[in-house]
């Protein structure tokens, strides 16, 4: 069955984390998922639009939702912060007629209307809920046996509770289940559901570096060979800023950080090139060596 979604990659997947966009499309293609990217969607505003004006926040996100509605399919995001902005706005505009009318008056000049016909999903949930464990399992050509993975969820895919009262997101361990299904070993560590600090890295870099540094320390001391995250903002702090964290905390990590789609892609036999693993700051060679060469899929991976 062909599945089609409206796709909002967000600024990271189109900029600092292009590998996220590439690997998401690569994994989607394996399942015949069509991710139709929205044209000129603008921005969900991260935490900034909300700090400027609530009306701007609702309009910017309502605009993206209205564009997806015009495509007639559910909207997929690959960033925790975009996801929360879109989910909260979708819930609010569906429930609050006054807010909906105000947004629709602003959207009218573009001929757009928010009607509240679609749902918002993270690509992680497309894999775990829509594709499902059975299909995922059937596609695994190289189980990630013995790979010790530290999941890092990011705040905005699990909190606030009001946004995640219904739906699969309330079930935080979706990422844990996915990792295990791929054959990896899930590393339990203090910090997996905490904050990376990204949203102050632009103004208070030190705070963000120390926060994420303590998670890296915990993940590594519990034996993690890599971190996997559904959020490119967390990825940016852990990967792009990892040398800065090392300098700040006078420590040495060299812990590679994977996007969910990259971890899935590896188990499904996609090549490191397909998953753009070379675009990371922290080299992923250690992981590749551990799980073997993807271009020669193993039928029976050795137990680690």
């Amino acid at each position: 069955m062909k599945r089609t979604y409206a796709y909002f990659p967000g600024c990271s997947a189109k900029g600092t984390c292009r590998e996220l966009d590439l690997s998401t499309h690569a994994v989607a293609a394996l399942f015949g998922i069509d991710l139709v990217e929205l044209e000129n969607p603008g921005c969900t505003g991260a935490r900034e639009f909300r700090a400027i004006s609530e009306q701007l926040h609702l309009t910017a996100n309502g605009r993206i939702l209205a564009l997806a509605e015009r495509q007639g399919c559910d909207l997929v995001a690959v960033c925790d912060t975009c996801l929360l902005n879109l989910m909260e706005t979708n819930q609010r505009l569906k429930a609050d007629a006054v807010a909906r009318d105000a947004v629709n008056r602003a959207l009218a000049q573009e001929g757009l209307t928010f009607e509240g016909k679609i749902e918002v999903k993270h690509f992680l949930w497309v894999l775990t809920e829509d594709i499902g464990e059975q299909q995922l399992r059937e596609r695994i050509v190289r189980p990630l046996r013995g790979l010790r993975v530290a999941p890092f969820y990011g705040c905005h895919i699990q909190r606030p509770a009001a946004a995640y009262a219904a739906g699969p997101a309330g079930d935080t361990p979706a990422l844990d289940r996915l990792c295990r299904l791929l054959g990896a070993e899930v590393v339990q560590y203090e910090g997996s559901n905490k904050c990376c600090g990204f949203h102050v890295v632009g103004v208070e870099e030190k705070i963000a570096l120390r926060m994420s540094g303590s998670h890296l320390t915990n993940a590594k001391s519990n034996g993690a060979q890599c971190i996997v995250t559904p959020c490119p903002l967390c990825h940016t702090v852990f990967d792009a800023y990892q040398p800065s964290i090392e300098r700040e905390l006078k420590s040495n990590y060299e812990v590679p950080v994977l996007h969910v789609s990259q971890l899935v892609g590896l188990a499904l036999g996609l090549s490191p090139e397909n998953l753009a693993l070379s675009r990371h700051v922290v080299a992923c060679e250690g992981i590749l060596a551990h799980i073997g060469d993807s271009r020669a899929p193993q039928t029976a991976a050795p137990m680690a």
Partner: protein, 317 residues
């Protein structure tokens, strides 16, 4: 949160490990284990009372109202802050004082730092106009934005989990203080200099928006959305602190290009610092910063339309 017991069969005892520490006498904290007879619908407070009355008369803990009003009995239970008077006892509990607070004795923590900082925020109404007597000329609509904030019992559970407050010398006031400040800032009668207090004294833009405070709030205040973000908007209007400038630059970049470019935003917010150069040297070779796209390419074709819609959002209010 549920007042109803989730237990199906009635257990006979609760095993509890209590944090014991008297800074006047002890060098380091220790834990003492007790077994307490279980009673139906037993609260954490009932366990503490039992230990105090029957097993350790010198055990220090704090409570006053026992009805979720006074906010003095919050403690860490198995690592998570709970109101002892309001939550059901678990069968195995390690009970400690709230983290990040100075311990006076055992579970009793000092509220001095919190109260001293609260005092610097002029924590009472600074009236714009003279008080003319009861009833106050207020409508329900005027009071609606602060309705949830007025539920705060200042139990400090949120302060104890805030990851920014855990950083040494963060300068951040923390969620409980911002709730108190926001309640006043959004009061139509108040004429205090709340933008300066929020921006410079409480340093509201240091909030990382992690929602940990909301997760542990026993009275379910939407702290980020209803206390912190309204304060950020107030500070944004005044526009002086770095966080507000960052938000302004973010919006400007999106309006000019139709999307955000992280490199351009960083340059606008921080300028060309040594750290920024180091980061750029790391990211350009990996293709994480595309210098051509950042500094040569014009915006997306739809940038003008997007910008116009964003601007009109302010007019339709």
């Amino acid at each position: 949160m549920s007042p109803f017991s989730k237990q199906t069969t009635e257990p006979d005892k609760v095993r509890v490990r209590l944090y014991r520490f008297d800074p006047a006498v002890d060098r380091t904290p220790r834990y003492e284990a007790y077994e307490v007879p279980h009673t139906p619908r037993m609260r954490i407070m009932d366990v503490l009372n039992y230990v105090h009355e029957n097993m350790a008369v010198d055990f220090g803990y704090r409570w006053l109202c026992s009805a979720k009003k006074c906010g003095t009995c919050a403690v860490n239970v198995n690592g998570s802050p709970k109101l002892a008077c309001w939550e059901e006892a678990e069968l195995e509990m390690t009970i400690e004082p709230l983290s990040g607070m100075q311990v006076i004795r055992d579970l009793v923590t000092s509220r001095d730092a919190f109260e001293a900082l609260l005092a610097t925020l002029s924590p009472t109404l600074v009236r714009k106009a003279e008080y003319r007597g009861f009833p106050e000329p207020l409508t329900a609509i005027q009071l609606a934005p602060t309705a949830h904030l007025r539920d705060c019992i200042q139990c400090l559970a949120c302060q104890s989990v805030c990851p920014v407050l855990k950083q040494p010398d963060s300068g951040f006031a923390g969620p409980a203080l911002l709730v108190a400040l926001s309640e006043l800032a959004q009061d139509p009668r108040d004429g205090g200099d709340r933008a300066r207090l929020a921006g410079e004294v409480a340093q509201v833009f240091k909030c990382v928006s992690c929602y940990e405070c909301e997760r542990v709030c026993p009275v379910d205040i939407p702290i980020v959305g209803e206390a912190i973000e309204p304060l950020k908007r107030l500070v944004y209007q005044a526009g002086v602190v770095p966080g507000a400038r960052h938000a302004r630059a973010f919006l400007d970049v999106v309006k000019a290009r139709g999307y955000l470019n992280a490199a351009v935003l960083a340059l606008k917010t921080k300028g060309l610092t040594l750290n920024a150069l180091r980061l750029a040297l790391r990211l350009v070779p990996r293709g994480k910063i595309d210098l051509g796209k950042a500094f040569l390419k014009r915006g997306a074709p739809g940038a003008k339309v997007i910008s116009k819609t964003y601007e009109s959002s302010e007019e339709v209010k």
